[in-house]
């Protein structure tokens, strides 16, 4: 009888150890879940900000220099964004640049309208993937 009681107490102590460890695991899982929800996206945001700044640079400089020729704008695009897939549009003419074999996701674009030297409205749109 005494032997059986001894076995029971050992078994009960083991169960307590195991339950304790399982509870710790559950606690740690919740801890990880909470932290992983606040995932850091700073670097991606900075990259998008820089892309947007470059798009705006191209638009502002185009207005300053009264650019209305798509080939001149393409040249400027290639100087500033040499390896980035995107498109440029001046009025109805549209050209894709560096887009061979590249995925077109996460488009960032902006546009501008200005009056050129010939008093015509020029619409310029630039998009970067």
């Amino acid at each position: 009888m005494e032997h059986l009681r001894f076995l029971k107490s050992r078994f009960a102590r083991g169960q307590i150890f195991t339950i304790d460890a399982l509870l710790a695991l559950v606690f740690c899982s919740i801890f990880i879940l909470v932290f992983s929800l606040a995932e850091n996206k700073n670097l991606e945001t900075n990259l998008n900000l820089l892309k947007m700044q470059k798009i705006n640079d191209l638009l502002i400089t185009s207005q300053m220099l009264r650019i209305d020729n798509i080939n001149v704008l393409e040249q400027n695009y290639l100087t500033l964004l040499p390896n980035t897939c995107g498109y440029i549009k001046i009025n109805n003419a549209r050209k894709e640049i560096n887009c061979a074999n590249s995925k077109k996701t996460n488009l960032l674009s902006n546009s501008i309208k200005y009056i050129n030297n010939s008093k015509h409205i020029v619409y310029i749109e630039i998009g970067v993937y």
Partner: protein
């Protein structure tokens, strides 16, 4: 081995296994947190560099052009580099190594190790040029 021994061994093994698992999970979380903090600090540093680049092309006190008859108004992205007026101390504090418009160097620090570089499009002497800002 009698039954008492068997129970004791299984108990110890199971407890050890779970203890190792718990330790692994805790270590993993701590390391992940450390790397996240590092990446956040890197992100903030990059953002500061982007803001400095923005000031260089749009702030009158930097490289942006201020026409004499319209003081207070800067032409964004139009440069008129006057090296004597450049805030050298501020550039040095922001770890700027090199300022280059097209192929022309405007400012150069003696430190040769360049880590990152930001490029912006500007108008310089009536033509489109790339302003390159390199940080050490």
């Amino acid at each position: 081995m009698n039954m008492k021994g068997q129970i004791a061994v299984i108990d110890v093994l199971l407890f050890s296994l779970l203890a190792v698992l718990v330790m692994f999970v805790i270590l993993n979380t701590v390391l992940e947190n450390v790397s996240k903090k590092k990446s956040e600090a890197q992100g903030i540093k990059e953002l500061e560099q982007l803001l400095l680049a923005e000031r260089l092309v749009s702030d009158c006190n930097y490289l942006a052009y201020t026409p004499e008859n319209r003081k207070g108004l800067c032409y964004k992205n139009v440069l008129k580099d006057e090296i004597s007026k450049l805030p050298i101390t501020e550039l040095r504090d922001s770890n700027v190594c090199l300022l280059k418009v097209g192929g022309r160097v405007i400012y150069e620090n003696k430190i040769s190790v360049t880590r990152t570089s930001v490029t912006r499009g500007v108008v310089d002497n009536g033509t489109f040029k790339v302003l390159e800002i390199s940080f050490c």
